[in-house]
């Protein structure tokens, strides 16, 4: 084999490896690589809670039933992340609720009538964003403010107006989404003059156990949640009609309806076919019984005669909820290995790029004290941006998927390496540096032979810190569809499946330990032998 051929085959092998890691047809920016139009997969996404997973799976299986390939991206951040991804064309379809569209996205006042709300959002979304609302699926899923039955009995609570009187002695646990959005707590508090003793942000999946154990007294749920039934909670009546109607519907990205009439035709028969009772049962099977959204969705579609002509694609596993944790994790070992590899790739690329930038920059800054402080401080500010916020900023610029995730991880990784390189080179044994200069070493010789070798352990310590941060932060990359070990964590949180959460969190923690231990070996290797070992 000639050298050129060998290089080419090595390049091909690399491309093959990258594509197996990142999934086929995904470029580094997370945009789909364009192919011929009919075979291009439709990107179906969801928000991170059980019903959204189920509806997205329903859309995906319906599209597949008529032969349209699908790329699934479940569990995108929350409303803001998912809608931003749709608006910018990073995803094609996700399930949304009309009331959410009206108040949280358009910023309008809540309206009482479901048909009016659908009319407003479908017109306004098309005008403002080019985004199309499919006709509603047939059920409403509004917010449900719920309390334990004992609380309702002892304080005589039936309505939200009753709650307002008792609120100063109660602790509320609301989802962060609900606390922030105008059709959530701010509007609710203003309408009913609600003042709780304390309001704690709680994730969807921990709210129900938290209220059942008495850690909080009031939660926000969805009217179709399985957890309301399971824990026997009392839903308080919205007697001032604050919450707008939340009808579920498929939301299509700008231009999709015109470019892909086959998608519209495939999803249209779902409209008006799902009632609230059906959804509550379906959600309960996922949230309480631990069944796969894919299995539940397949049965729903089959019940509507909208499924694939043959058997359902997903294999039903009725005993899945009964298997032990170890058995469950073992049964997912292939998937876990794939996700671990992808996780490691996300971290390795971000960390490698950050090191290539931060080490030379840190060396340069060590010789320019006047600009060094502002530059290092600026990268430090990046560190203070919450991960989810940074990931959200990435979407309009880089879409969703691996690209924006790697860029976000890269931005987080720069600061520890830069700071350590800068201070390590600057503060390298001043007596040794002074003697080296006084005996006739040039600036370049001092940098390469004295400062850098003495700073090497400090630089590596920075790389280690960045690596551990990156392994942890990369789990959040699942919120923007980048995959990795965050996938089972996000899905597990959404589906209230602890085993699924652990099947992602445990390997992520182990990976952090292994990466840290590996880099500590590198740190020892670059530590000059003359320096003390402690």
């Amino acid at each position: 084999m000639t050298a050129g051929a060998s290089l080419r085959s090595r390049g091909a092998a690399l491309v093959l490896l990258l594509s197996t890691v990142f999934g086929p047809a995904t470029s580094l920016t997370g945009q789909e690589v364009s192919g011929s139009v009919p075979t291009e997969p439709i990107v179906v996404a969801s928000k991170p809670f059980a019903e959204s997973f189920l509806l997205a799976e329903l859309f995906a299986q319906r599209l597949e039933a008529v032969g349209i390939p699908v790329d699934r991206r479940p569990g995108l951040g929350a409303t803001d992340l998912a809608f931003r991804a749709l608006r910018t064309g990073a995803i094609d379809v996700y399930p949304e609720y009309t009331g959410t569209g009206l108040v949280a996205i358009l910023g309008l006042e809540p309206e009482g009538d479901a048909a009016d709300v659908y009319g407003i959002v479908s017109t306004r979304f098309m005008e403002r964003y080019g985004v199309r609302w499919m006709p509603p699926l047939g059920f409403e899923n509004s917010y449900a403010i719920a309390v334990r039955p004992e609380t309702a009995d002892s304080l005589n609570l039936r309505t939200l107006s009753d709650l307002a009187a008792a609120a100063p002695d109660l602790v509320a646990g609301f989802s962060p989404d609900f606390i922030g959005r105008p059709d959530g707590l701010p509007g609710l508090a203003a309408t009913y003059d609600l003042r709780f003793e304390e309001t704690r942000p709680l994730l969807q999946s921990v709210k129900y156990p938290a209220i059942a154990e008495g850690a909080v007294d009031v939660i926000d749920g969805y009217t179709t949640d399985g957890g309301l039934d399971r824990y026997g909670l009392v839903v308080l009546d919205d007697d001032a009609d604050f919450f707008p109607p939340y009808e579920a519907a498929a939301l299509l990205r700008p231009g999709l309806a015109a470019a892909r009439p086959d998608v519209v035709a495939a999803l249209a028969p779902l409209s008006g076919r799902l009632d609230a009772a059906t959804m509550r049962r379906a959600n309960r099977r996922i949230e309480v019984d631990g069944q796969e959204p894919a299995v539940v969705a397949a049965e729903l579609l089959a019940g509507l005669s909208l499924g694939a002509p043959g058997a359902t694609t997903a294999t039903p596993s009725p005993d899945v909820a009964d298997t032990g944790l170890a058995e469950f994790i073992w049964s997912r070992r292939g998937e876990t290995a794939r996700q671990t590899l992808r996780h490691l790739w996300l971290v390795a690329i971000a960390l490698g790029a950050a090191t290539l930038l931060a080490v030379p920059l840190g060396v340069t800054l060590a010789r320019r004290p006047t600009v060094a402080e502002p530059v290092v401080r600026a990268t430090g500010v990046l560190q203070t941006i919450p991960s989810i916020a940074l990931l959200a900023f990435m979407i309009p610029l880089f879409g969703i998927g691996v690209g924006p995730a790697v860029i976000a991880l890269f931005l987080y990784a720069v600061f520890p390496i830069l700071r350590n390189t800068w201070s390590g080179v600057r503060d390298a044994d001043p007596d040794a540096v002074d003697a080296a200069r006084a005996l006739g070493m040039t600036d370049g010789q001092i940098l390469l032979r004295v400062r850098l070798p003495l700073a090497a352990p400090v630089v590596m310590a920075g790389v280690r810190v960045s690596a551990v941060i990156a392994v942890g932060t990369a789990t959040l990359a699942a919120f923007i569809g980048a995959g990795g070990l965050g996938d089972p964590i996000v899905a597990g949180l959404a589906l209230s499946d602890e085993r699924l959460i652990i099947s992602g969190a445990l390997p992520a923690a182990l990976l952090a330990l292994v990466v840290d231990a590996g880099l500590s070996l590198v740190e020892s290797a670059v530590r000059p032998r003359g320096l003390s070992e402690d």
């Binding site: 040794a432 002074d434 003697a435 000059p528």
Partner: protein, 258 residues
């Protein structure tokens, strides 16, 4: 008083010359018109209190400090016109803490200047220099600086300053970091080494006993100026300023140095 050679004739060639040298670090004036002349083969000690400018004046001669005004010459050539790197390689340097590179062995440290100068076999020069300062090369060349005692570290620094055989060595408190016992022991050896090597030495010290034993002449500095530079006897006999007597009395007592 030790038995060192008498001062050179006044017309001996000046190796180091400073004329009206002033320098400030920011707002702080370190040198304010300092004059100094060190002749070929003599050992001159710069003494004075902390902040009197002695270290700054020493660092002017190897271009580590670039004074704002005044003229500096080394071997008759203006420092301002010299290549600083070549200038520094032509003279030895012994700092207070030794300044050994901690990630290099003692042997490699001592071989530094011969290596920078591109000499053949710098290792051999290093081994010879180690032997001269009383550190047997077989025992010390492969050790790490952190495994040496304070006294051994200063000996190694001295070996490094002498390894390339310079005619001029700058020493900035070479014994300042040592405990009293090591300092006394090394002081005697240092005196012998300087005489044997026949080098010109500019020595900064705050220890007047050290100055009295090692130096041919002592230059008393105050507030960035050299008040007087002469032999100890003549500084005693004919001080140019009351401060000269005050400093000598404070540093040596009225008795002669031990």
């Amino acid at each position: 008083m030790s038995t060192h050679t008498p001062p050179r004739r006044a017309d001996a060639a000046a190796v180091l010359e400073a004329d009206g040298v002033s320098h400030a670090f920011g707002e702080v004036a370190a040198l304010q018109g300092a004059d100094l002349r060190v002749t070929d083969g003599e050992c001159l000690a710069l003494v004075g209190e902390s902040g009197s400018g002695k270290t700054t004046l020493l660092r002017c001669f190897n271009a580590l400090v670039r004074p704002s005004t005044g003229r500096l010459r080394v071997r008759g050539r203006a420092v301002a016109d010299s290549d600083p790197v070549a200038l520094r390689r032509s003279m030895g340097y012994v700092p207070q803490q030794g300044g050994l590179l901690p990630h290099w062995t003692v042997g490699r440290n001592v071989a530094l200047v011969p290596t920078l100068l591109g000499r053949s076999n710098p290792e051999a020069a290093a081994r010879a220099a180690l032997e001269r300062v009383g550190l047997p090369a077989v025992e010390f060349a492969d050790r790490w600086p952190r495994t040496l005692s304070g006294g051994q570290r200063q000996r190694a620094a001295l070996a490094r300053a002498l390894a390339a055989g310079p005619d001029l060595v700058l020493m900035d408190e070479p014994l300042g970091a040592l405990d009293a016992l090591a300092r006394a022991e090394l002081r005697h050896e240092l005196g012998a080494l300087i005489r044997d090597a026949g080098v010109t030495v500019l020595l900064v010290t705050h220890d007047l006993h050290e100055a009295a034993e090692l130096a041919d002449r002592i230059a008393v500095m105050k507030d960035g100026r050299v008040l007087q530079a002469d032999t100890l006897d003549r500084l005693r006999a004919a001080p140019s300023d009351p401060y000269v007597t005050e400093l000598l009395d404070r540093g040596l007592g009225s008795a002669v140095a031990p």
